[in-house]
């Protein structure tokens, strides 16, 4: 049985942060979970979807984050407990609805979990979703370790029901994707009956309609919302998730939240004797801030250091309160991002914090290893460990697609360009995709930008315009942009890289597939039907057919007016259906390989760059690495000398 359902109270298990959050929701009696995949958040919904049947819960990968939030809110309106999960960028998408939801309030406990990615380890930005909690005027929780990830999630549902509004529980990559020990709690039995009560008085929170705001009358709903946040502040004053550890009168008081509290504790230990002068105020409830609690602790020290990721959210909110406390308390020195003591971009780590504390305490840290080792090892690594850029996987359909796009644009010769989007294919901004993408922004923005460029004919823009997006991204946010392009007669060719799943984040299903998150069969919504339905000329090709793809692209590029769609359909090489099933056995004919000798410029290894190919320096020929090659056979059509041979794999 899945660890998430083991009903052994008190058992201690090694859980990933995302598993701990999922378990916390199960311990809270979760009924409905929705989300849109995005690193580092995806494993929460994935884990829940795996146990959906046994646990009797409904789990959905929604078409996008806004719809996910709406689905979760509906469950809450019907009295059920619901969870809504997304990565930081997803909150931007959902925020329109959330701003309304915050005002109408909720019924069954509803918890919104954004997982931020400080350092943008697997994102295109490092947005700090905490600011939404303040803007939306809803409570914000930040678990500081794995146990808290579970316990705070469970508690968040109760808090949500107490104040009748949703609660934001913010995780970060280093919590979501890290693992630690969690002692399990009880899983409740029984099921809540869903019922939406709507016949009561307009403003009755129990049985009235759920309407966000009465026009021109914020004194009702908006004021009620602010009463809720005041209640939350009172509750937070005594929350066990905020606590202090350290000497009674520390020289330096560190105020930290989320995973930074673990880093800070470690940094204090790293400072040895000097560290004994530091205290750690670990904050778990970071909006609204418990003022009396903070005031009490801040009065114990003269120097305050804020440690958090990414922006100075905690710092500025504490400073705002501190402005009211100055009388009789004497001035303090505040250190953090505003003072330049710590950076307001990128991840934190124990080293950064120890260094900052050292500066504030005016002590120098003893080096942890001989300086000579560091210098020598560093120099050696510069030589022996070449940089590892990200590449498409061996056998990835995107490499083939961009090969065709790249060569079609070159043949066309009018400086055409590609507006990119979010997915594995974002890597096509780099050499692995022949530097094809010239714009990359948020999901669906490739089509939107291309549509904008496509209307600049009147201003003399003559370059052909392409947009690419993946299958999941198409459904998520590209459809409105495509409709807009059609209606406004923008000139563009949209290429949909349909690799049959949300590959980047681990093959979560989307509306185009015949299954849903719970692995039940579901009616697929066909991309081509949507495109043709809105009147776009649509063709479908297999990107592994390089010639067919290029010809289709060239003929589209020639037509100068209006929008066209080319669907390049081929499953991701890591997809479960393909993994370990090579279509071809591929090898290089040493005698035919021209290599550096006569001008193919080592097209296969230097330009096409599939990791399944490598260059044998001794023999000066290309070779296939059988351990790596996925047997797609595409490189056989790349080689101008016909030196790469493929035969059907048995």
């Amino acid at each position: 049985m899945s660890l998430l359902l083991k009903n052994k109270e008190g058992d201690k298990r090694l859980l990933m942060g995302n598993e701990a959050i999922a378990r916390g929701a199960i311990e809270a009696g979760l009924a409905v979970a929705t989300g849109y995949p995005g690193t580092p958040s995806s494993e929460i919904i994935e884990n829940l979807s795996r146990i959906s049947r046994q646990a009797g819960i409904y789990v959905e990968w929604s078409v996008n984050e806004k719809v996910a939030a709406e689905a979760a809110a509906a469950a809450s309106f019907a009295g059920l407990r619901s969870l809504c999960v997304m990565k930081q960028n997803g909150v931007n998408v959902a925020s329109d609805f959330l701003l309304h939801l915050a005002e109408s309030g909720t019924r069954g406990g509803m918890v919104l979990v954004p997982c931020d990615d400080p350092g943008a380890l697997s994102s295109v930005n490092e947005g700090d979703a905490r600011f939404f909690a303040r803007m939306l005027e809803v409570p914000l929780l930040e678990p500081g370790d794995f146990q808290e990830a579970k316990d705070m999630t469970r508690w968040a549902f109760a808090l949500s029901e107490e104040i009748r509004n949703f609660v934001v529980l913010r995780s970060v990559t280093r919590l979501s994707h890290a693992s630690g020990m969690v002692s399990l709690g009880k899983i409740p039995r029984g099921r809540t009956q869903a019922q939406f009560r709507h016949a009561g008085a307009l403003l009755d929170p129990e049985s009235g309609p759920m309407i966000s705001c009465l026009p021109g009358a914020p004194q009702f709903t908006h004021r009620r919302q602010q009463d809720k946040i005041r209640t939350a502040r009172e509750i937070f004053e005594t929350s066990p998730f905020n606590y202090y550890e350290g000497p009674r009168r520390p020289e330096v008081l560190i105020v930290a939240s989320s995973i930074c509290s673990l880093y800070s504790r470690e940094a204090i230990a790293m400072l040895g004797k000097a560290g004994k002068k530091c205290g750690l105020l670990k904050m778990g409830t970071t909006w609204p801030l418990p003022e009396k609690f903070l005031q009490k602790h801040l009065s114990s020290a003269e120097k305050i250091v804020f440690v958090e990721e990414v922006l100075p959210f905690l710092e500025e909110n504490v400073l705002m309160l501190a402005g009211r406390w100055t009388r009789g308390k004497g001035p303090k020195s505040y250190y953090g991002k505003n003072s330049g003591t710590l950076p307001s971009y990128g991840e934190m780590n124990p080293d950064l914090i120890a260094e900052a504390l050292g500066k504030v305490l005016a002590v120098r840290r003893r080096p942890v290893r001989p300086e000579s080792f560091a210098a020598k090892a560093g120099a050696f690594a510069d030589n022996a460990a070449p940089r590892r850029e990200l590449t498409f996987c061996p056998g990835c359909p995107h490499r083939a697609s961009f090969w065709s796009i790249h060569s079609a644009l070159k043949l066309d010769g009018r400086e055409g360009f590609v507006c990119g989007d979010i997915g594995c294919y974002t890597l096509a901004a780099f050499p692995t995709g022949f530097n094809s993408l010239r714009t990359v922004h948020s999901m669906g923005s490739g089509a939107g930008l291309a549509g904008g460029f496509g209307r600049l004919r009147a201003f003399g823009l003559r370059q052909p315009i392409l947009a690419v997006c993946g299958d999941s991204t198409f459904f998520h946010a590209a459809v409105p942009a495509l409709i807009n392009a059609v209606h406004h007669q923008a000139d563009l060719t949209m290429v949909i890289l349909d690799n049959r799943g949300t590959a980047m984040t681990g093959f979560q299903p989307h509306p185009g597939l015949p299954v849903n998150a719970m692995q039940e069969s579901a009616p697929p919504v066909e991309i081509e039907n949507i495109c043709r339905g809105i009147g776009v000329e649509t063709e479908i090709r297999d990107p592994f057919d390089l010639k067919g793809t290029r010809d289709a692209l060239l003929s589209f590029l020639e037509k100068k007016e209006g929008a066209r769609v080319l669907i390049l359909r081929q499953a991701c090489s890591l997809s479960p259906e393909k993994k370990k099933k090579n279509s071809f056995k591929v090898r290089v004919d040493e005698n035919a390989c021209r290599g550096e000798r006569c001008g193919c410029n080592r097209l296969c290894t230097r330009i096409f760059r599939c990791p399944g190919l490598y260059w044998d320096n001794r023999k000066q020929v290309a070779r296939i690495d059988d351990v790596v090659c996925a047997g797609c056979g595409v490189c056989a059509s790349i080689c101008p000398a016909g030196a790469i041979l493929k035969e059907d794999a048995v």
């Binding site: 201690k12 298990r13 090694l14 990615d117 380890l121 697997s122 994102s123 370790d145 794995f146 146990q147 990559t173 280093r174 919590l175 994707h177 890290a178 693992s179 630690g180 020990m181 995973i259 673990l262 504790r265 470690e266 790293m270 780590n349 124990p350 080293d351 120890a354 942890v368 290893r369 001989p370 080792f373 560091a374 020598k376 090892a377 050696f380 690594a381 030589n383 022996a384 460990a385 070449p386 940089r387 590892r388 850029e389 990200l390 590449t391 498409f392 996987c393 594995c424 890597l427 692995t432 890591l574 290894t605 230097r606 330009i607 990791p611 190919l613 490598y614 260059w615 351990v627 790596v628």
Partner: protein, 220 residues
């Protein structure tokens, strides 16, 4: 529980996306948790499927939760599924007394395949590392796994080798339990074979040594 283990003991497993780095760290973490240790694992694997560097930081403690990032220069053991990644981690987190065990099989970065960057011959890597860490060990984990018919099990061979150092309480029984959780039932057998092969490779490598290197004494 092993008495006298440094608190925390800092273990790094590193490699390249697709080598089973994350799985290896999960198995190790679970084996140690079975031994009663408090484990924290920090991972960078967001881009792991697409050929990037992957690294897991495993903190092993008798009773406290440590941060998911090991401070620079503070690794106690480094297990490299890929030699160049081992070198990279050694430079950031290592020191001359670190326990360093590396696979010998390179995974070439795209820039090397394309011809711009150079990947030095494994002999050069080996001698460079030995000049930094005299007790470093290199074993042919992938070759051994290929012999078993499952090249992907190079990661398990490496776990076997680490277990054989006896730096950490990683016995075969715990491996069986932990591997059973993650590997499909049909592959448990292969996993055990790979684990044993790793232990054997370690022993062979040690018997060729002029002086016994393990258990090494580590700085506290």
């Amino acid at each position: 529980m092993k008495p006298g283990l440094k608190n925390p003991f800092n273990l790094i497993v590193t490699g390249v996306g697709g080598q089973g780095n994350v799985l290896a760290s999960r198995i190790l973490g679970n084996m140690l948790a079975l031994g009663g240790f408090q484990i924290t694992i920090g991972e960078t694997f967001g881009a792991s499927q697409r050929g990037g560097s992957v690294m897991s930081h495993i903190r092993i403690s008798p009773g406290s939760t440590w941060s998911p990032q090991i401070p620079k220069g503070c690794a106690d053991a480094i297990v490299a599924l890929e030699p160049a990644e081992g070198v990279r981690v050694l430079s950031d987190y290592g020191h001359d007394k670190v326990c360093f065990i590396s696979n010998t099989r390179p995974v070439y970065p795209a820039g090397v395949i394309a011809g711009g960057a150079v990947y030095p011959p494994i002999e050069e890597i080996r001698s460079g590392v030995l000049s930094l860490v005299p007790d470093a060990l290199f074993i042919d984990a992938t070759e051994e796994a290929i012999k078993l018919g499952r090249p992907i099990l190079g990661n398990i061979v490496m776990i076997g080798a680490l277990a054989a150092t006896r730096l950490l309480p990683l016995d075969r029984k715990k491996f069986r339990v932990a591997a059973d959780k993650f590997a499909g039932s049909d592959s448990l057998d292969y996993n055990l074979k790979a684990f044993d092969a790793g232990r054997r490779l370690f022993q062979t490598a040690m018997s060729r040594r002029s002086r016994p290197a393990y258990p090494v004494t580590r700085r506290s």
